[in-house]
């Protein structure tokens, strides 16, 4: 099977969907001529033409608004946010317009809004954010964040084919650093399904995005101490895959939630709540979380590193719950 980077996998998924379905089109800032700030859409303009690869003005609200309009009348727009931080400007269109159409008047809004999220590249406070928690609270939206090339391709296809608005977060740290086998041609990673990336019986780590890789590292380290960690890659953040989450934690009785996003109001809270609501009596230890602290994300490398959750913290958290 071909080995692709995470970025190439996204590109391939987008490309194949554009080939498959002419209703699919792209819009965003600098995605055409330039191929996107991270070159995800490089070559698309040449292949698919200006009508399906649209360089827009710097107007995130209009980009998302126009995507909504086009989706309402049957197209399948994929809008890029140059950095996901700028989605804050489309917050209103997403949470009030896109998310509520189906409920209010039965209209489908099959848009995908994608863009690079996350830290690790010294982007500073406005080019490094994780924004899932801002949208996680909006019924009507779906949120996915792949961690591997395989999932990246499968999820972008699923997102485009989904009949509801999907936010697709790409972790920029993984773009060119993570490679993996990706089947040629068509396949789907279903939205709403988590994936056990490493099976284990003692402690469950629930995570996604870049932190999957740190968690797998931590699991490897801790395995030498005889603790077998099960690492669940959430992949879809909304709706959460309760079944996979709860059955893993019911099995291990111990859960560590790891997210790169800041702590208070991050999605770990909801997950812990669900575990506690549904399988309280299976818990052998408190559910703990490893997250960034409650600050903006700082720029300078020593600060950013201190801010971001590190493997060692995950190891310690796992040890702590294992020994509870």
């Amino acid at each position: 099977m071909p080995v692709l980077t995470y970025l190439e996998a996204i590109r391939q998924g987008l490309w194949e969907e554009m080939e498959r379905d002419e209703r699919v089109f792209l819009l965003g800032e600098d995605i055409g001529v330039y191929g996107g700030a991270f070159k995800v859409t490089e070559g698309f303009l040449e292949r698919f033409g200006e009508e399906r690869v649209i360089d827009t003005p710097i107007s995130e609200a209009a980009i998302v608004g126009a995507a909504i309009g086009a989706a309402l009348v049957g197209l399948r727009p994929v809008a890029e946010m140059q950095f996901i931080d700028f989605i804050s400007i489309a917050f209103d269109q997403l949470t009030n317009f896109a998310a509520k159409c189906r409920y209010r008047w039965g209209a489908a809004v099959p848009i995908v809004v994608r863009g690079p999220c996350g830290g690790g590249v010294h982007g500073g406070p406005f080019h490094s954010q994780n924004v899932e928690a801002y949208f996680f609270h909006t019924p009507g939206l779906k949120i996915v964040e792949p961690a591997t090339p395989y999932d990246a391709k499968g999820l972008i296809k699923a997102a485009i084919r989904d009949d509801d608005p999907v936010l697709y977060f790409e972790h920029k740290y993984l773009y060119r650093r993570i490679r993996g086998e990706v089947p040629e041609g068509d396949y789907i990673v279903p939205i709403g399904k988590a994936d056990v990336k490493r099976p284990g019986r003692d402690v469950t780590i629930l995570t996604y995005g870049w932190m999957l890789h740190k968690s797998l590292e931590a699991a490897e380290i801790i395995a030498s101490e005889g603790i077998e960690v099960e690492v669940v890659d959430l992949r879809t953040l909304l709706p959460l895959d309760d079944e996979t989450i709860l059955s893993s934690v019911a099995k291990t009785g111990r859960a560590v939630i790891v997210h790169e996003d800041t702590r208070t109001g991050g999605i770990a809270g909801e997950i812990a709540m669900r575990i506690n609501e549904r399988i309280f009596e299976y818990l052998e230890a408190p559910v703990v979380r490893v997250t960034a602290p409650d600050t903006p994300i700082p720029f300078s490398p020593p600060l950013e590193e201190f801010f971001l959750p590190q493997v060692e913290e995950i190891v310690q958290a796992v040890r702590w719950v294992a020994n509870y």
Partner: protein, 342 residues
């Protein structure tokens, strides 16, 4: 090159304007009787521009109204019972009670409902216009914005986006003097909203909003340009909001002279005068139309009043395409669930 209106078309518009006014008058009575849920927003004095602009559209075009465009909905086939059931929150309403007032529509009918947030429709309608262009359709997208709504960022982003992509979008900017209690001069430092067209490089025009023929013709021009690929138009209609923002607001802050000035320019009266002067209708015609409308209203209102309120369970439906797994109620079923899992 003006497009002349046939007598039939003029009478058609008259019917819709009158229908709008009478439905709203009936709504006002219902409001006072406490039969309406929530607020009532009237378009008194603005029936002309709403009807005439929508009347300029053709099949396949898309329309998105704001709160003062009831008349435009009627032109596009909406019937009074839809309005009554919406205002009463009935289970038979187009949204089954989920949303209120003119917040309903369907893509098939070419009707895109607004959300309350002013301005948001403009980028959305730009997207519909974009789709039309991409699909080589003739359809145009038409929507409205109040003088107040033009201050929103969405207005700007949407119009500029449409301008750059030369989309078949028509935005009717309604200068009706006020945005809630805020007079236009506190909303913008210009006299004519259409001047904003200059900053977008699009067509701009200001017309008398209470002159239905002028509004119709200007909208036709805009639509023609849009279909010819010449891009968007910002068409300003000068009119006046003859009631408060909503019925709870008696608009004490509006000078009486302004109301009197515009009262004399009532669009329905003006059309009546025109029709009479041109020998196209007389009082009997108007009475017949009014009578017909009253009957339609009675029947539709009866249906609305007899309709049941929605089944509460509907509240949980329709969030996602797939039958949604809406969160269960709190804790009651939880014990059994935990058991089921073990």
């Amino acid at each position: 090159m003006e497009e002349a209106l046939t007598p039939k078309q003029l009478l058609d518009m008259y019917y819709y304007m009158k229908l709008t006014r009478l439905v709203e008058e009936r709504l006002q009575r219902l409001y006072r009787q406490g039969k309406i849920v929530g607020g009532l927003y009237r378009s008194l004095g603005q029936e002309g521009e709403s009807v005439a602009s929508a009347y300029a559209l053709e099949e396949g075009d898309f329309l998105a109204v704001m709160i003062r465009n009831l008349g435009a909905l009627f032109v596009r086939g909406v019937r009074p019972w839809e309005i009554f059931t919406q205002y009463m929150g009935k289970g038979t309403s187009p949204t089954r009670g989920k949303d209120n007032i003119v917040h309903f529509g369907s893509v098939e009918r070419g009707l895109i409902p607004p959300i309350s947030h002013l301005g948001d429709l403009i980028p959305v309608m730009a997207g519909i216009a974009l789709a039309s262009k991409m699909q080589r359709k003739r359809s145009v997208a038409l929507t409205y914005i109040g003088d107040g709504g033009t201050s929103t960022g969405a207005f700007h982003e949407g119009l500029n986006f449409a301008a750059v992509l030369k989309l078949p979008l028509i935005v009717i900017a309604e200068d009706n003097g006020y945005a809630y209690s805020t007079p236009k001069h506190k909303q913008m430092a210009i006299e004519n909203i259409a001047d904003r067209a200059i900053g977008y490089g699009i067509f701009g025009e200001t017309v008398d909003g209470n002159d239905v023929i002028a509004v119709y013709q200007a909208t036709r021009r805009a639509i023609r340009r849009a279909r010819e690929g010449l891009g968007p138009t910002l068409l300003e209609v000068k009119t006046f909001r003859m009631r408060g923002h909503a019925e709870h607001d008696d608009a004490w802050y509006v000078p009486r002279e302004l109301l009197e000035y515009w009262q004399k320019r009532d669009p329905i009266l003006r059309l009546e005068t025109y029709l009479k002067e041109h020998g196209l209708a007389d009082e009997t015609t108007f009475e017949e139309i009014t009578h017909r409308i009253e009957q339609e209203i009675e029947a539709d209102l009866r249906y609305a009043e007899e309709s049941p309120m929605p089944d509460p369970q509907i509240a949980l439906e329709g969030v996602y395409a797939e039958s949604p797994s809406v969160s269960e109620s709190p804790s009651i079923s939880r014990e059994s669930e935990v058991k089921a899992r073990s």
